[in-house]
Subunit: 209 residues, 2 copies
């Protein structure tokens, strides 16, 4: 059985929990409190030298990092991954967009405004850039969602899971989505998908850990 190292309030960790829940894949959940330094212990760094969650043990002592690579791995061969060669690449395109253009802005704003006490004052200058670049990325998503119901393959895939996590957190860190109606309709569509679970949901612990 997989072991997932995850933080409950981490958007990147939530992606993996959402995918595993939708696929009905059981796993052991290990909570790592990044804010308490638990991803920087020698023990954890031996598993992931980059010191981040989520991290999935895919085979004994073999650990996969980077939320979107984990999504790709667990969804391989399921309906959550496109089969067509171009559509697979388009899903990856949006997942790279997410890690390069969305997460660094929304994720940073969420971290400092929603998780760190006094973070707003510490990051006052950077916040302007995160807001500007975050809104720019939402603009790109809005343009796509004005013409397509989902990000790739005309159906719900891991590309939607990747982009949903931090879009869903935007209202917790100053972003206002009123002027992005297509994004708001897509958020509702994702939440109506079968097997959807919200961020605070936790899997039932298995009897034998």
């Amino acid at each position: 059985m997989y072991t997932l190292y995850s933080m409950q309030r981490s958007g990147n960790s939530y992606k993996v929990r959402l995918a595993l829940a939708k696929l009905g894949i059981p796993y052991n959940l290990v909570e790592i409190d990044v804010l308490q330094g638990q991803s920087r212990t020698p023990e954890f760094l031996a598993k992931n030298p980059n010191g981040q969650v989520p991290l999935l043990e895919v085979a004994p002592n073999r650990h996969l990092a980077e939320s979107n690579a984990i999504l790709w791995y667990v969804a391989g061969g399921t309906t959550l991954a496109p089969e067509d060669r171009i559509e697979r690449a388009e899903a990856l395109q949006w997942m790279f967009f997410e890690q390069h253009s969305l997460e660094p802005n929304i994720g940073a704003a969420y971290f400092w405004l929603a998780l760190i006490k006094g973070g707003r004052d510490l990051q006052r200058h950077a916040l302007e850039d995160w807001m500007e670049n975050g809104y720019r990325s939402f603009g790109v998503m809005e343009m796509h969602l004005g013409k397509h119901a989902y990000f790739a393959a005309n159906r719900f895939t891991i590309a939607d899971i990747a982009l949903y996590a931090f879009t869903n957190l935007a209202n917790q860190c100053d972003f206002e989505l009123a002027r992005f109606p297509a994004i708001r309709a897509w958020l509702a569509r994702v939440e109506a998908e079968p097997g959807y679970v919200p961020m605070h949901w936790q899997p039932q612990l298995t009897a034998a850990q």
Copy 2:
């Protein structure tokens, strides 16, 4: 035949040119000067709403963005992509690491120090963060390369191409790799691989465009 929209001095564009050269795949090359606003024209934004290069036309009027998604697409089924399920995910892990932890720091420093006149003064404060985070990412790579010759699948793959592009540009934007011997040995290894071409290399133009 593919059409690649690329900028000669763009590290992300170079990744795709290097992969296509190694695979011996012919293509039409269209130079887009991002610094002159050529990726922000209505015509280009219709192809890529995110306004970035590289961009590959994979089918008539169907364009794929994000350098690492393009690498995944063109290398599919070739020796440049791992076949094993875990190794494929590990290649993606490093490619997401590249876009999230390496490129935003080295790429930003390269852009403002090597491409923009007066950029150093404009970005003096941000530069400190880029240097610190860039060196941190090199540290993670150094740890991996101390134990492995390549990033995934024990051979040269698209993960190496993705990470090579900006590591190769680091010495043009203040980064000093002297204290990363494993990275320097890997750079030399990549450059000794058959079919390697440097960043300034250009494909011969095909007779009929």
